[in-house]
């Protein structure tokens, strides 16, 4: 049973990884506190839904549209938030809270409040020993892994990726070195929001959506990023998997109504007693600030 729970949790965590990587990137590069991140997951879910409704494209095929839409929403966020970058984090939080309100209710206005879902393409499962793996979740997981892999390749080996990491390390020094910081900000926003939207599209294959679904994902994304260590991308990846497992295991052993409490408590404990994140110092370097 434990094995089954861990496998289910890992699959879920794979999708969480996408949204927390995006959040972590934006926070790292632009020092921008995005409290509307979950709402972009919601937007991604609706884009996948619309693509299915209009062109009967399942999310496995509609990702180019979702990415394109994601870039649009990223630029919207950037446009709204640009003047608060490098300024008070308080205003960033408030602006994104306002944006979250606008996004949720615009979607509500156009799509009404009922749950939207798209039929399962497979709806079956694969049995490995005593463990059942949902085909949908497995495919979503594999796609998430591929995207994550691509993302890390980009971040690690391209000039722009390197520059993004450099800005994330030391914004002021990056400016002195002549890195085009005001160009890298929108790039980070685009990457981050596109990842969130893609996560939404993948979630759409397994869950229905509604305009208010984003606030839950927003907290999950932040919990993951904090557990992983701020602006530390590999950490966000590991903690996303951990949160996935934590959700299913605590849901089973402690009761399904306490599962959220478990990772919120974990979250507060980590914030208070290990603010550098869970994985710092375990053979992995942590960004000095």
């Amino acid at each position: 049973m434990l094995l089954q729970l861990i496998v289910s949790g890992l699959l879920l965590g794979g999708i969480y990884a996408l949204l927390s990587l995006g959040l972590s990137l934006i926070f790292g590069v632009s020092k921008f506190t995005n409290f509307a991140h979950g709402d972009f997951v919601m937007v991604g879910m609706y884009m996948a839904f619309v693509s299915y409704g209009m062109f009967t494209l399942t999310p496995y095929f509609s990702w180019p549209l979702v990415m394109l839409g994601g870039v649009g929403f990223a630029l919207l966020l950037y446009l709204v938030a640009r003047s608060t970058i490098e300024k008070s984090g308080l205003n960033q939080i408030l602006v994104t809270l306002g944006l979250s309100m606008v996004l949720q209710n615009t979607v509500l206005l156009f799509f009404k409040s009922d749950y939207k879902s798209i039929p399962a393409t497979f709806g079956s499962s694969i049995k490995l020993g005593t463990v059942f793996i949902s085909t949908e979740m497995l495919i979503a997981f594999v796609i998430a892994v591929v995207i994550t892999g691509g993302f890390f390749f980009f971040i690690k080996y391209t000039d722009t990726g390197r520059a993004l990491r450099a800005v994330s390390d030391d914004r002021a020094a990056s400016k002195l070195m002549g890195l085009p910081v005001n160009l890298l900000d929108p790039i980070a926003f685009c990457l981050g929001i596109v990842l969130a939207c893609l996560a939404g599209a993948l979630l759409m294959t397994v869950y229905p959506t509604t305009p208010t679904i984003g606030s839950g994902y927003n907290l999950i994304a932040w919990v993951t990023v904090v557990l992983g260590g701020l602006g530390y991308l590999q950490g966000a990846l590991f903690s996303a998997l951990l949160i996935g497992i934590c959700e299913t295991v605590s849901g089973f052993y402690l009761g399904a109504d306490l599962r959220q409490a478990v990772y919120y408590v974990l979250f507060i404990l980590v914030l208070v007693f290990r603010p550098q994140g869970l994985f710092a110092g375990l053979g992995m370097k942590k960004v000095k600030r």
Binding site: S8, L12, S113, P119
Partner: protein
């Protein structure tokens, strides 16, 4: 600095004028003699908006139909509509409807927190409160004089659900005292009050509950719940869910290859169109317990049948899908309120007359589209509200229980394993 204080004073004055305007204009334009005003409140934004909106359309269509048939004693009904996403908004809007719009009847509301607040204010202000959906037992246990609920309450709901479970258990040859039951419920007031009802009934009947699990309906992944069900190995599962979690529980049951002998879903989670749409053939054979949303028109009184048909047509035109249970509940409650209570009392001006008319109602079971009748007890709770068992057959919901409401035979009882469906 003086300028600043003037600015503030101006601002405040304008706010005061604004509130004055909004409170006086509608009252001036309305002509109280020619219309009967009814307050219609539902949560139409916020987390409860899904069913709140369906419930609004049920009410609105009933009012439109009565108006088109000439109104009540020649007077048209005017619906004063308000959006009440939370308890604070309920407080505010109900006061507005009573104080400024001078309504004497308020109907709604679907959400239980808002229902409690609204009912309290209505009772204090001697306004009739006509609840059509909220199930919390407590609503009618406060000693309110002018509060009525057309829908069943949670404990009765649970009791009837357990009865249905018992009868199906017998049908497949299970001894009720030896059968095991697992109850999973969302931890809101809806799930909890039903779980309590199931619990009370099964204790009487001697059935063993092996798992009584609550979960948060906002949960994104229900596999731990399904695994718990699987581990409990119960014969009968009674699951109360909203739509999101209801769909996920079914999906995860298939993925984890879990099928109990009998699975009874309760509430919107298993009965909404979205359920059938998103599960397609996997919905086949799943049972939902709720007042029926597939009424058998030929069993109804011909006039009622015609009205229901009209309602079905209009609802589909307005919302784009067949009315779910919530729509029928709102429609029939409003229908009875207008035609049997307000019409009998001759308008809304006399509260005592309306209460008397309501208390004297005696509509036998099976007369309303959901199979309910109307007979209020002392507390204002309708004792003739019933639930039925509906089943997904070939992508459509049909009613299979009780017999006088059934329009199809139950299939797949007991549930076969997933690979044999």
């Amino acid at each position: 600095m003086k300028k600043l204080s003037w600015f503030l004073i101006l601002m405040l004055a304008s706010v005061t004028v604004l509130s004055g305007c909004s409170s006086s204009t509608p009252a001036n334009t309305a002509k109280p003699a020619e219309v009967i005003k009814i307050g219609v409140i539902q949560p139409r934004s916020g987390p409860l908006a899904v069913s709140g909106e369906d419930s609004y359309w049920g009410t609105k269509i009933a009012i439109d139909m009565v108006n088109e048939a000439g109104g009540i004693k020649g007077k048209k009904i005017e619906a004063v509509v308000a959006d009440v996403p939370n308890a604070g908004a309920a407080q505010n809007e109900v006061n507005r409807l009573i104080q400024n719009e001078k309504v004497k009847v308020i109907t709604g509301i679907y959400g239980s927190a808002m229902a409690e607040v609204a009912a309290g204010i209505c009772n204090r202000n001697e306004v009739l409160y006509w609840e059509h959906i909220s199930v919390t037992d407590r609503l009618t246990k406060q000693g309110y004089k002018s509060v009525f609920r057309m829908h069943i309450n949670g404990s009765l709901f649970g009791e009837q659900a357990a009865q249905i479970a018992e009868s199906y258990a017998k049908k497949i040859g299970l001894d009720p005292t030896k059968a095991t039951v697992a109850v999973v419920s969302e931890n809101g007031d809806f799930g909890k009050s039903i779980a309590a009802g199931v619990d009370a009934y099964t204790k009487k009947a001697g059935t063993k509950i092996v798992l009584n699990e609550l979960y948060d309906s906002k949960t994104t992944d229900t596999s731990p719940i399904v695994l718990k069900l699987k581990a409990s190995n119960a014969d009968i599962v009674i699951a109360t869910s909203y739509i999101n979690d209801g769909i996920d529980i079914t999906k995860k049951s298939k993925v984890l290859d879990y099928s109990p002998k009998i699975f009874l879903g309760i509430g919107s989670g298993y009965g909404l169109a979205a359920y059938g749409k998103s599960l397609e053939k996997d919905a086949e054979g799943m049972i939902d317990l709720d007042p029926t949303s597939t009424p058998v028109l030929k069993n109804l009184d011909p006039n009622m049948a015609k009205a229901v048909e009209e309602f079905q047509k209009r609802f589909k035109a307005a919302r784009g899908y067949d009315s779910p249970t919530v729509g029928y509940l709102a429609w029939q409650a409003t229908w009875v309120l207008l035609n049997n209570v307000i019409a009998t009392a001759g308008g809304t001006d006399n509260l005592a007359a309306m209460i008397k008319a309501a208390k004297e109602l005696d509509i036998k079971v099976g007369s309303l589209p959901t199979g309910a009748g109307v007979k209020f007890d002392e507390s204002g709770q309708n004792t003739r509200a019933v639930i039925s068992a509906m089943q997904w057959q070939k992508g459509k919901l049909v009613t299979i229980y009780p017999d006088y409401l059934a329009n199809a035979q139950g299939i797949m009882i007991p549930l076969p394993a997933w690979n044999k469906r």
